[in-house]
Symmetry: C2
Subunit: 211 residues, 2 copies
């Protein structure tokens, strides 16, 4: 009976860290393995592409709709990319999934993560760190998708982002993917056991019930 | 390299909960499985019994020595049992093991746990809860070691102790021993990843190191 209560509400799990650190890969692995976990679906003003679906890939909004959502404080965070399209994390989606006992995973950069935490203090903040700076540079180069200049820009940004490690609840070093996934799985499980949201209910039941 | 830092300091893990809930059994299982975990060794004024060893079962102290330790604030908590013998958790033992990267397990009642948390705020507080009150009563009766009156006294005390669940970081429901042990293992692993003690060092290394 107590366990039902403890599993009733999920957690918002923020996976963040510098570009190239592997947080997307870790998130995808977790989703394959855990039915009670889902990715947050963002809202965007960019056009729907072929094969995409409303509410699956994104919630597609006009700029007016998006601005209205901003005004109504409906985002946990949002940003405008390249001065053009807006992207945001709708609070309603997250809250609805959590209330169904799901945990929601947010794969987001450190700036966005900071805003999410400010808007949703119960968020479980996980910082994915590289084993070392030299390894991070190697990975950025290894992608082969960026120019040397772009790699250096990303690398400089990564160093700034690493300075925000103190604002996180957990640090997972991604030097071995399997171990990093297991680390995050343990954090997910521990976070359910830490759920401050059910403790009052637990207390009431333990006090009310008779043997 | 980062992982070395993260494993450098252990955590003080407080396992508490009402009598009969199985915290001793959970603790013993954990110790069998994890080399980097040890039980706290208490100090006591009671006499050494045959087969016991100084520093293994207890640190044996005279009443004068024990009182001097109390005055010097050398205990994380202490108590006098049946108005006679003193028992206490020496801070020095815990700090020494933590500094060697071990985590230290404290199996303690909820009153003692509260004092430990006050004296060592970084302690990871785990409350072991019964699946229900009726199950707890069944377990207390099932022991067969206590009179009906003693069972009722323990049961009444357990209800009071359950009211303190809100002061804990984690709640583990012990309805299946294997699952409860796994829950605590996840909390141990997550607590290492949460180590606030290494974050500044991590930051310095990531900032100082060059690719």
């Amino acid at each position: 009976m107590l366990k039902d209560i403890m599993n009733k509400t999920g957690n918002l799990i923020v996976l963040s860290g510098p570009s190239g650190v592997g947080k997307g890969t870790i998130g995808a692995r977790l989703l394959e393995k855990h039915d009670d976990l889902c990715f947050s679906v963002s809202a965007t003003t960019r056009e729907m592409r072929e094969g995409e679906q409303e509410g699956v890939n994104y919630y597609y909004k006009t700029v007016a709709e998006f601005n209205s959502m901003i005004e109504n404080n409906e985002f946990l965070e949002y940003m405008q990319v390249f001065g053009k399209n807006y992207y945001g994390t709708p609070r309603a989606f997250v809250v609805e999934r959590l209330s169904r006992g799901m945990s929601v995973l947010l794969d987001i950069d450190v700036q966005g993560a900071k805003v999410v935490k400010a808007n949703y203090p119960e968020a479980v903040m996980i910082f994915i760190a590289p084993p070392s700076l030299s390894e991070l540079r190697r990975r950025l180069v290894g992608r082969g998708t960026d120019s040397e200049e772009a790699v250096e820009r990303r690398f400089a940004q990564a160093k700034t982002e690493l300075a925000m490690v103190n604002e996180y609840d957990y640090v997972v070093v991604n030097d071995d993917l399997d171990a990093a996934v297991e680390d995050v799985e343990c954090i997910l499980r521990a976070s359910r056991l830490a759920g401050t949201n059910y403790k009052n209910e637990l207390f009431e039941i333990l006090n009310g019930e008779e043997a």
